[in-house]
Symmetry: C2
Subunit: 345 residues, 2 copies
């Protein structure tokens, strides 16, 4: 089945959910243009989630996607947190921050019954997950209202797992992709594969439609992904400069600077590896820290530094999520970008 038919969309272009850089406005614009807009829900309170869904339903009757993380929240570990804060101590001193006074950082709650209760009222036609899938019971709830389910695979094994556990489509998330790696069956980053190699292997391994993600930035990239057997593509980075995105000023500036050509996987900002533009804290601490607390607990300490730095217009401590190809980033309306991406189809 084509992705268009599966999701009820006109163009096989999915706007990747980007928590912290967009809300309903971007999703609505992309869905209106015939693609599949996505609402990132991992950092929304129940009230905010409800409000965003009200907005989407009020402004479009096109299909849209809501995206959730489905990690197992870790137990806070005071000893590890102390080691982590010690590693950041020079930076706390520089900004005059007392680490003892840092409030908890923004939470990232996994998909839950509470979220499902809210969704049920709106019956979003597509629900996507990152870091695997939720429990069988929760997944069944989502499917009961007719939602199609997709999730990211970073390896062939993960793609097979997702299909076996009920995903209606699989996103082949190549190593080029910005933001959090969806990796969930391993913690070994050497298992991560570039799109050119990952996509055709996943297409061969599963029978559900496969969506390509990672490194795609224009209509040529879309055509290349389709040549490799993709049923559609998911792009995030290219949408970050659109006026409908809520990308921060420091993030927008970084994306338009030469620095954007150098990204790396880093766990400093949340505790899980995610791809962002290399900035000062990634250089000074190293992009991957063995002592960063488990996802999402690492967020707390660094958010204090980020907030201070951003008040001075600096992105030195900010997660500047971006994929390895920022050449598609343009400050044009998301609908126009969506149509341009699909121009060769």
């Amino acid at each position: 089945m084509t992705l268009q038919k599966l999701f009820g969309i006109e163009l096989p272009i999915i706007q990747a959910p980007m928590a912290g850089a967009q809300g309903s406005a971007l999703a609505i614009a992309v869905s209106h243009a015939g693609g599949l807009g996505s609402l990132p829900c991992a950092m929304l309170t129940p009230e905010a989630l409800h409000a965003e869904l009200v907005t989407i339903r009020a402004q479009t009757n096109k299909p849209f996607n809501v995206n959730f993380f489905c990690h197992t929240p870790p137990q806070p570990d005071a000893a590890r947190e102390a080691v982590w804060r010690a590693a950041l101590a020079p930076h706390f001193r520089e900004f005059g921050i007392d680490p003892a006074t840092i409030p908890a950082g923004p939470g990232r709650a996994p998909f839950s019954e509470v979220a499902a209760d809210i969704l049920e009222e709106f019956k979003p036609p597509v629900v996507s997950f990152h870091f695997g899938l939720p429990s069988a019971a929760l997944l069944a709830r989502v499917k009961r209202w007719g939602a199609k389910v997709m999730s990211s695979a970073t390896t062939v094994d993960e793609a097979r797992w997702l299909e076996a556990h009920g995903a209606d489509a699989v996103i082949a998330q190549g190593l080029e992709a910005g933001g959090h790696r969806g990796i969930f069956l391993s913690e070994d980053l050497t298992t991560q594969v570039g799109t050119m190699a990952l996509l055709p292997q996943i297409v061969r391994a599963v029978s559900v439609p496969v969506i390509a993600a990672g490194g795609i930035a224009d209509a040529q990239g879309v055509a290349a992904a389709m040549a490799l057997g993709a049923s559609g593509v998911q792009l995030g980075t290219s949408y970050l400069l659109c006026p409908e995105s809520t990308t921060s000023a420091v993030h927008r500036a970084a994306l338009q600077s030469p620095a954007a050509r150098h990204t790396a996987l880093t766990n400093l900002f949340t505790g899980r590896p995610a791809r962002g533009i290399v900035n000062r804290v990634m250089r000074e601490v190293g992009p991957i820290s063995a002592v960063a607390p488990a996802f999402p607990l690492a967020t707390t300490a660094i958010t204090a530094l980020r907030a201070k730095a951003e008040t001075h217009g600096s992105g030195d401590f900010s997660p500047l999520w971006a994929g390895q190809n920022v050449t598609g980033c343009r400050a044009i309306p998301a609908a126009e970008l969506t149509r341009q991406l699909a121009a060769g189809l």
Copy 2:
């Protein structure tokens, strides 16, 4: 200009030079089929190089490529070598090897006047380099007999550098590629980019033809690379099982096993990062060692272990070079494989 015209070939398919896994036979077969066969010369003595060139010229009048490394040989560092051998000590004990008696490993000499002297007699129409380019004087010698020159870029900066320094074509070596990374302007592996992201950015950055490498394994992959603006493709891994290759028995077995799905960059075998199938020594030492001697000096210590293990049919200490997509590996004649790769063009 098309790559076919630049190199005088019929099909824009380049067989990647693979030192240790092939000689003239594979190059001849691919060139005969209309692609560009490559002879890896980095590990050949002057006598062996001469003999291989005699063989090629005797068996084909089609264009072919000779490939050289162009690193700066390091000064041996006894202290570092001692630390490295200490790290491998448990393995030496296991195999009953006295580290004091290990002979020097296979050398990898950079391109030189001696090599140019030998080449000049045969005037190979294409000369490719890895790790940058040789000196301006040596490059001029090669160009004087009409050879076209290409080299690998692993970043946009390297592609621009190669064009500025006289490369007639640039190989965009995506992170998926097997064997040695061509990286030469940096030692930071976070600069390395997947093919889907790297290729279109290099196509945009230079005006010479760009050859895609990394993760391509079949006609669909070739089509995808062409959609991204490549003028041709270079594949190595897919040729490793061809009867004309000299791929070792343990290497062939590994390529056909499920283990081949997990590769990693490792510097254990030579001192420079190269992609190979994860095996025991990579797991036990870690794929990247901070104490491995500089390229190519790391080769010596591990070659002793490799030799012992291989006599027992084990590839636990062998460099099992492979890219991230081994699905194209088939034990069919190289000419047939070449034609199949070009089938969609």
